[in-house]
């Protein structure tokens, strides 16, 4: 009975974990399809992959993983009833999330200026679909965290009442997980 209960109540709640599972499955399958297509049209895909800026991808990976670390720190602080600390780290989390979006937007602007927009070739169709879908997730994550920050500052959460923060944190880390799969497959593997 205890085991059944804990299966239904993972950290952050079962609903967010079902969402995480569906999301990583969807991206995982899409990335496998991308790999299949890569090998069916190897030269085109390799040529287009070389047009991506690996350094920008690497920088954004650093930013997103660091943002995940900040979010984990928010949870630590709130469990310790250190609300001011939680607020501070939530600011950092949102800030790094915005930095990711800004850098990704900058990368998009470079690609568009080079003429590598959606429809350029199959590689860039995958690139735009996968990364823009992830971009939207990060954007939604920033909005969720901003709402949580607002409520945190109002005093709505504490050491015995932080399920919303935990759920928002799981969503935010899901963006990390997806990027952890996207970055090597899109930018590095050939």
């Amino acid at each position: 009975m205890e085991q059944a209960k804990s299966f239904l109540y993972p950290p952050g709640g079962i609903l967010i974990w079902i969402i995480v599972l569906m999301e990583v499955l969807t991206f995982g399958i899409a990335l496998i399809v991308f790999r299949v297509n890569f090998h069916q049209d190897y030269d085109t895909f390799l040529n287009s992959q070389n047009m991506l800026s690996k350094n920008i991808g690497l920088f954004n990976t650093v930013v997103l993983i660091t943002s995940g670390y900040f979010m984990a720190t928010v949870i630590v602080k709130i469990k310790q009833s250190r609300i001011k600390g939680a607020i501070k780290w939530m600011f950092f989390t949102i800030g790094t999330g915005l930095l990711f979006l800004f850098v990704k937007g900058w990368e998009y602007s470079i690609k568009i200026a080079e003429g590598h927009s959606f429809g350029y070739d199959d590689f860039f169709d995958f690139y735009w679909m996968l990364t823009s879908f992830h971009f939207i997730h990060v954007l939604v994550g920033v909005v969720i965290l901003s709402v949580l920050l607002f409520k945190l500052r109002k005093g709505d959460y504490g050491a015995s009442n932080f399920l919303d923060i935990e759920t928002g944190g799981v969503f935010w880390h899901m963006c990390d997980l997806i990027w952890i799969l996207l970055f090597p497959v899109l930018y590095l593997l050939h």
């Binding site: 952050g12 299949v36 650093v62 997980l177």
Partner: protein, 80 residues
């Protein structure tokens, strides 16, 4: 716990730089390079899921589901 989070962040940074370096030095499609990059990706994925997302505190079925998923993904991506 905070120390564990910080340690994981350092490990994730090192693994990410290692993957990047490995991809940079291997311009050809070496099977071992592909395997190493995917193994490192699996470690990073599970590190974030277990520590930052607190999957370590969830029921073992959740742990099994995510481990099976990421291993299946890595095997499929490696075999293609």
């Amino acid at each position: 716990m905070n120390r564990k989070n910080t340690l994981l962040w350092v490990v994730l940074m090192l693994l990410m730089l290692f993957n990047f370096w490995l991809a940079e030095i291997s311009q050809t499609t070496a099977r071992w390079t592909l395997s190493v990059i995917l193994i490192v990706t699996v470690i990073k994925f599970l590190g974030i899921a277990f520590q930052y997302m607190e999957l370590k505190d969830a029921h073992r079925r959740w742990k099994i589901i995510f481990i099976v998923f990421v291993l299946s993904f890595a095997v499929a991506a490696g075999l293609v």
